[in-house]
């Protein structure tokens, strides 16, 4: 909403980029589900519908993601509003994601039935089938994606996950004090303070309670 309201020029690109990610994640969930369907031999009709949805998610996701990523790289490189804030990692992260989307798109077009191929691959993983093989474009895509997943926690892109745990909790939590908060507060107020400015009068031993409840006329000394 914030980007839509305050940064409309960026919105189509960031929307395509993020929607691409959501669709690929959705496709992965469906592929795991399809693998379970294959193992449990559910009705072919259900499996085909689910494979069809996964295939559409994959194609649209890879296309949107590729367009969004390429657009964002160009926008970041050319827009005077964004350019001063770019670093090497800004481009590297976007390129990395772009390679994932594009390799995924190539794998989709190379494969006659992408959703089916990836679902069977997952089925073999789940059933510890040592004879797991996939075509080169898909195996390359999987390797790049796994490398990215390993890299992800070391980047600020982890905001994807962190946002859902932190956004409301940190910004808008105004829950009144309950016993749990009170206990936590007592522990925190007992933390020692070591700020150096003279008016704080901290020595690394006095805690927050000691410092903030000192006699007010001590202030004359600061």
């Amino acid at each position: 909403m914030g980007v839509w309201e305050h940064n409309r020029a960026l919105w189509p690109l960031t929307f395509a980029f993020h929607m691409g990610i959501y669709l690929i994640v959705g496709m992965l969930f469906l592929s795991v589900l399809n693998a379970v369907f294959i193992i449990t031999e559910v009705s072919l009709y259900v499996l085909n519908v689910s494979l069809g949805i996964a295939s559409v998610f994959a194609l649209v996701g890879y296309l949107l993601g590729s367009l969004g990523t390429i657009g964002l790289i160009l926008k970041r490189a050319l827009d005077a509003n964004l350019k001063p804030f770019n670093t090497v990692s800004t481009y590297f992260n976007l390129l990395f994601l772009g390679v994932i989307f594009i390799s995924g798109g190539c794998a989709w077009f190379h494969s006659g039935n992408f959703a089916s191929e990836i679902s069977f691959f997952i089925k073999r993983l789940i059933t510890f089938d040592a004879g797991v093989t996939v075509a080169f474009p898909l195996s390359l895509h999987i390797i790049i994606t796994l490398l990215f997943i390993l890299y992800l926690p070391w980047t600020d892109m982890i905001h994807f996950i962190a946002k859902y745990f932190t956004y409301h909790e940190i910004r808008w939590n105004d829950k009144p004090q309950d016993e749990k908060i009170k206990k936590r507060l007592r522990e925190l107020l007992a933390q020692p303070v070591s700020w150096s400015a003279t008016h704080i009068k901290a020595d690394g031993k006095k805690n927050w309670m000691d410092i903030t409840k000192e006699e007010t006329n001590d202030e004359k000394e600061s």
Binding site: G2, N7, N81, F85, D174, A197, E219
Partner: protein
């Protein structure tokens, strides 16, 4: 004006000013305020001031005591102190209060710049890069990443865009941390929840709590004076009581109703804490509340104990320890008086300090119930105990939303319910409510006036708000129609006073500014003479 200012420029060029503010590059104001040559002008620093003071940011000085190092070693010491402060800011022991949102804001900014167009200062400045909410935060972020995080220096090198940390960087960062009103409009627009205002406030905190640098109006003449004598106004307990006694008598005579402010009534239901600045600068405000509380038949009291008669808490702008000291003293006084609740005065940051932040500071029996002024006044107006005649308020009224009451606490409707009921010509300015623009005096800026800082406040910080106010009254722009900007916050009123005076808006547009209680009392049937005199503002 320097456009396309790079982040790396920030630590370069020693004493040289980074940008110059030119009024003709700011966003234009509507007539008759569009003629720059007819305005008082932006006060430039003299050669002598440039020699003596640190003025390496934008030609504005908010703190004359900012030190210039005598030699390289001294400059290095400041850098070491700053790095030490950075580490403390990122430690749980020294900063458990705001560590979590600070880390979120450091780690998860996607650099989309969406927040910039939400910032009234950046917009008013004509989109000057220096005033982007992200500019100061990104410098801070890169310094944190480099000096506090493991392998930070190596990653900073690899990433390029490394910010050199030297005395210039530090002093510019200090000044830049006072070019933000902490209104948090940027935070509200951020899709990630990054709070650049919090980053600004944490920077101020680092300077205050580690280096001892803080504007004198906020520290020596602010929290220190408040804890020592009772109020940043300098009002001592006996003086404040005398002042209000005098005002009680004066308004009893003027209004025809008995005005009697109760003091130190142990066991009263309500401890009301005004901002003492209101008593000096806008005395109708506290008197209006007295009239309303008495008419409503409340059991209430003021306190004459230090600092119980002044609800301001400038610590909220720059220093956690000072913030906690003042908040705890307020709660201790309420506890001593055995009141059932504390009610805030018409003061935005008092609400943030005592209702929001202090809720994670006041432990045990100090956690006394606290009510905001808006619902308090709403209950009085709609209690049915007081008769009103809305035709007495039949003039154009618009409402300024104090950020700390509206965006911070989400209290939007009570004040509007009152105004819709009592003011036939009430209309909103746009945008309003949680999307409001700050008056330009938030974050403590309204009380800061060192060197040429007031010029920056009225020309840049308050420009969007002034434009907005003019827009709200654009159907009747002339001075022949008297207009009222209702600003239920002392700091906002002080900023409006400066703005209206600078632009001559009372004479040119007939605009004055006052509080909410004053408007309410003006509509009371029992108050025979008009309570609003149309001279102040």
């Amino acid at each position: 004006m320097k456009k396309n200012l790079k982040l790396t420029h920030f630590s370069k060029d020693g004493d040289t000013q980074l940008i110059e503010i030119n009024v003709d590059e700011l966003i234009p104001l509507p007539a008759p305020y569009d003629k720059i040559e007819e305005l008082p002008g932006f006060k430039r620093l003299t050669d002598d001031q440039r020699q003596r003071l640190v003025c390496n940011l934008d030609g504005v000085v908010s703190y004359t005591a900012l030190p210039k190092p005598k030699n390289k070693e001294e400059g290095k010491e400041y850098v070491e102190q700053f790095v030490s402060g950075l580490k403390k800011l990122l430690s749980k022991q020294n900063n458990w209060t705001f560590l979590q949102p600070l880390l979120l804001s450091i780690d998860y900014c996607a650099q989309c710049q969406t927040c910039c167009d939400a910032c009234p200062i950046y917009l008013a400045s004509g989109k000057n890069d220096l005033y982007r909410p992200t500019y100061r935060s990104e410098i801070f972020r890169r310094l944190v990443n480099k000096y506090v995080k493991p392998s930070g220096r190596l990653l900073a090198e690899l990433n390029r865009g490394d910010i050199e940390l030297n005395w210039v960087t530090i002093t510019r960062l200090y000044e830049l941390s006072y070019r933000c009103t902490l209104c948090r409009r940027c935070a509200q627009s951020c899709p990630m929840g990054v709070d650049n205002a919090l980053v600004t406030r944490e920077l101020r905190k680092l300077f205050s709590q580690e280096l001892g640098w803080a504007p004198k109006e906020l520290h020596e003449k602010g929290t220190v004076l408040q804890l020592e004598v009772g109020s940043p106004t300098g009002l001592k307990p006996n003086v404040v009581k005398d002042n209000l006694k005098f005002l009680d008598e004066e308004f009893t005579e003027a209004t025809g109703v008995e005005v009697l402010t109760p003091w130190d009534k142990e066991g009263a239901d309500i401890l009301l804490i005004h901002s003492a600045g209101d008593i000096i600068s806008f005395p109708e405000s506290p008197i209006a509340v007295t009239i309303l509380c008495n008419a409503a038949g409340f059991s209430w009291t003021l306190s004459s104990e230090i600092p119980g008669y002044d609800g301001v808490n400038y610590g909220v702008f720059y220093d956690d320890v000072q913030l906690a000291k003042v908040a705890i003293r307020h709660a201790q006084i309420a506890k001593k008086l055995k009141v059932k609740k504390m009610v805030m005065g018409e003061c935005g940051h008092q609400h943030k300090a005592l209702m929001t932040v202090a809720d994670r500071v006041l432990a045990g029996d100090l956690n006394i119930p606290r009510e905001n002024v808006m619902t308090f006044l709403e209950n009085i107006v709609f209690s049915g105990n007081i008769k009103f005649d809305p035709s007495k308020n039949d003039f154009p009224v618009t409402l300024h939303d104090p950020c700390n009451i509206v965006r911070n606490l989400g209290i939007v409707e009570p004040q509007r319910r009152i105004l819709r009921y009592l003011c036939p010509q009430f209309h909103e300015m746009l945008p309003h409510g949680v999307d409001n623009y700050c008056c330009g005096g938030g974050g403590g800026l309204s009380v800061m006036s060192d060197v040429n800082f007031t010029g920056w406040k009225v020309n840049v910080a308050g420009r969007m708000k002034f434009k907005q106010v003019l827009g709200a009254f654009s159907d009747q722009p002339g001075p022949e129609v008297k207009k009222y900007v209702c600003a239920p916050c002392l700091n906002c009123k002080l900023q409006f006073r400066d703005i209206l005076e600078y632009y001559g808006a009372r004479e040119k547009s007939g605009i004055i500014c006052g509080g909410l209680a004053k408007l309410i009392v003006n509509a009371m049937v029992d108050i025979k003479k008009p309570f609003i005199e149309w001279v102040e503002g």
